[in-house]
Each structure stands twice: as C-alpha cells, then as structure tokens.
C-alpha cells in the first residue's frame, strides 16, 4: 500500500494540481503536499499525491556509488583469480 512511483511533472495546472507523465500517459496529480515544484521535476507519486521531490543529484550519486562498488568487487575478484559468472 505504500508503493509509489517516480513521475515527471509535465505542467503545473494550479497551486494544488499538476499534469504528470506516467508510463506514457498524462494524468492529473495533487501537488498540495509539496512546495516549489517546477516543470521537469521528478516526484514520488502515491495514491494520486506527490509525496516528495526526487533529488536527481542524489540519484546520480547513488548510481555512481553502486558502479564503483561493482568495479571494486570486479577488481577484487580479478585479484583473487575468480572468473565472474
């Protein structure tokens, strides 16, 4: 029930509502729980409400960290002579 998805704000309709793109469809969502949203922002959408803004820089940072963890592990396996599956 707490499942939510990241969606992109396509247009701001008024202070409380926006259009968001969800899997190729445009849907009206409530933005009443967040301030200062702009077109192009990604938000976490739950039961028709934007709950939190998605921080794109943090997302990139996590992906970079995941990639470096992976590389580190690959290097460790290479050093240990393990052939990756």
């Amino acid at each position: 029930m707490c499942l939510a998805i990241p969606v992109r704000i396509e247009a701001l309709l008024d202070e409380q509502t926006a259009l968001a793109e969800i899997g190729g469809l445009r849907k009206t969502i409530s933005i009443a729980l967040l301030d200062d949203l702009q077109v192009g922002d990604y938000v976490i959408l739950h039961v028709g409400f934007a709950l939190q803004k998605l921080d794109e820089q943090e997302a990139q940072r996590t992906l970079a960290l995941l990639a470096s963890l992976g590389q580190l592990e690959a290097a460790r396996q290479a050093a240990a002579g393990v052939v990756p599956a």
Partner: protein, 378 residues
C-alpha cells in the same frame, strides 16, 4: 521508467551480492528485518534471497497495513457497508480480506452493500458530492505514506462544507510497530533475534530518517532506510552488514534520492493538524500498542465515522490454524503455516498476509517459494 530501471541492473546486482559475500563474517549470523511489505515483494520478485550469503537471513516485518488490521475493525467496516444509506469506499487491497466467518467486503457487495474501490482518496470527495442523499464513508488505512492524502481530503471536505462524508480511520504509525517488535515476547525470550532493520522507503519520504534515531540508541539496533528497487535493497544490506561488522549502530539512509533527515514537513504538519494519536490501537499479531495509530481531532469530529455512526465491536474470530499473527511478528515464516499454499492461496485466502499485495505469504506464493523445500530458501 527513469529512476527505476537504473536501479534494477543485473550485473551490478551480482557484483553487490559478491561484495556482500566477501564482507560477511562467516563466524556470525546476520538476521535482518525488512519492515515494509514493499521490500518483501521486491526481495522475492528479484530473487534477492538466492544472491545472499547463507548466514544472512531476511525476516519479514509487519509493514503491510492490510495485514495488521485486526479482524474486529474489518467487521466494523462490513457492518457500516451493510447500512442502506452508506457508500463505503476504500483501497482495493482491503476488499478480499477475510473478516469473521470468512465474510469480506467483496462478499458484502455481492449481497447488496454499496462498496466502491478507490485509487485515490480524492475520489471519495467526488462520490460524496455526486451522491448528496447517501453517506459516503472512506475507510482510510495505511502507514505514514498514505496518511497525508487522507488528511488533505478531510481538510477539503471541511472547506467544501460536505455533510455526507466521513472517514473510518485506521492509520497506523511505523516507529510504534518497530518498538513493539523489539519488545515482543519472542524478542525478549531470545527466540527472535534481530540484528538490524531495513527501514521503509516511502514511509520515510514523509517522516524522514531522523524518526528512527531511537532504535540504535535504545536497543542498539541499526536501521538503514532503503529504496524499493533491487540495487537499493542490496546496497542497504551491505550498509547494515558493514555497521554490524564494525560494531556500530546508527541510522543510515541509502534512499537519499527521496528521503531527507526531516522528511516532508508540510505533510507532517497537515497530518498533525487533522489527526492525534489514539491511546492505543490493536495490531493483528502485535496486540494493543500504545500511541500506535491516529484518530481525527475533535475539531474534525463531524468527519469521523466512528463518532457519526455507532460501531459496535464484536469479538472477532480468527481462523484457528492461520499463522498470520506470528508471521507478522517475524516469529514464523509463511512455510511454517500448515494452511500455506494448501487451504490458503491468493485465489482463496484465509489470512490477510495472503490477500494483500504486500503480505509475506502472497510474496512467497507468487514468486514460487512454496515449491522449495524448507532448507533451500531463506
């Protein structure tokens, strides 16, 4: 989908799993609870147990609001729905949960009750406006993620002056349940040993990571908040393993792209404007927990279905063989239940954990864990 697909990459997942395997201490066990049913499903959907070292075991928590709703509350909802003037609306997950005598909201609907399924609570307001001669009752349920939308709807109902709209409130609080698990009889007797929590993703976008500070300080139990994608879960498990290996216990946040320390303050302020904590509330499996649920404040009493209608509480009847209560405490596994995958299946559920899309039994069944022998899976 952007910000979803990148966190499902298989090669990175295998490398993270190899990191975990390399870093776990073979001399110890790691018993980690994913609190949230959303995590339970992600874990099985992506086959994460098969990637984990043998001494790292995941224990499934009670973070599924439908699963922890006591049968008595569901009986009350069915009684409400059976009133001729009432339109009872709620989320789809609830409709098939068996109440006393295996009655469900869906069966009540087949017998003539007006029960409607909602995607968003905003639809409940339209229902009330479109049906002025009926009483529209929204059965609200959920953790902190789902509460602010309910609060907003109540505030709007007041602004609109709606006289035929009320809320049957079953909103519950995550930290209270986490306290209850750490203080459960199984925990205190040492049967349920828990080394750390994988903290919920979307609940935490609202309440923030600071809301979990008590768990390391009071119990020495580390918490790592994790996103719902498989790479999020694996990275968070690695963070938990590292804390445990280093003898640390603190709150860490893996899901930094959506969770901040303070959370969504606007949503929190709205929640506390409309709701106040109940003295206590019953949780299926966990019993009566103090300050663990919300009710409408007196200023919004006219929108409180419990005040508007007299809702008699009858002694509820649990199915005697159903292990949902122990599964919800993390004390048993779905495969420990003799009804699991025999009498109780998603098509014919006997317990709430098999109905809800976030229940542990539904996850085990859907992703084929019932076909494995007890020793083969985590």
């Amino acid at each position: 989908m952007k910000y979803v697909d990148e966190f499902r990459d298989g090669d990175t997942a295998r490398q993270l799993a190899a990191c975990l395997a390399a870093e776990v201490d073979p001399a110890r066990q790691y018993r980690l609870m994913e609190f949230c049913g959303g995590h339970t499903h992600a874990i099985f959907r992506y086959g994460i147990p098969d990637l984990l070292p043998d001494n790292l075991r995941l224990i499934h928590g009670p973070g599924c609001p439908v699963c922890v709703l006591p049968i008595a509350r569901l009986d009350m909802a069915i009684a409400l729905a059976q009133r001729p003037e009432v339109i009872l609306c709620t989320y789809g997950d609830l409709l098939r949960v068996p109440a006393s005598n295996r009655q469900t909201l869906l069966k009540a609907r087949a017998e003539g009750a007006d029960v409607r399924m909602l995607y968003s609570p905003l639809e409940a307001l339209s229902l009330a406006r479109d049906n002025p001669s009926r009483e529209v009752v929204f059965m609200a349920i959920g953790f902190e993620t789902t509460t602010p939308p309910t609060a907003l709807v109540i505030e709007q109902a007041q602004l609109l002056g709606l006289k035929n709209f009320s809320v049957f409130c079953n909103h519950v609080l995550t930290p209270s349940a986490m306290h209850a698990i750490l203080a459960s009889p199984e925990s205190e007797a040492g049967v349920l040993q828990l080394d750390g929590f994988l903290g919920p993703a979307h609940v935490s976008t609202v309440i923030g990571s600071a809301a979990y500070e008590d768990f390391p300080t009071q119990y020495g139990t580390p918490v790592v908040i994790a996103g719902f994608e498989p790479l999020d879960v694996l990275q968070a498990l690695l963070m938990l393993v590292r804390q445990l290996n280093q003898g640390r216990a603190c709150v860490e946040n893996q899901f930094t792209r959506a969770v901040t320390a303070e959370g969504n303050l606007k949503a929190q302020a709205l929640t506390w404007r409309i709701f106040e904590p109940r003295e206590q509330f019953e949780w299926r499996g966990l019993g009566h927990l103090p300050k663990s649920a919300l009710r409408l404040r007196a200023a919004y009493a006219e929108f409180d279905a419990e005040r508007r209608f007299s809702l008699p509480e009858f002694p509820a009847q649990e199915h005697r063989a159903c292990e949902c209560p122990a599964i919800l405490r993390g004390a048993k596994n779905p495969r420990d239940c003799r009804l699991f995958a025999t009498a109780c299946t998603p098509a014919n559920p006997l317990g709430s954990c098999m109905v809800s899309s976030e229940g542990a039994c539904a996850a085990y069944y859907t992703y084929g864990r019932h076909m494995q022998t007890a020793g083969a899976a985590h």
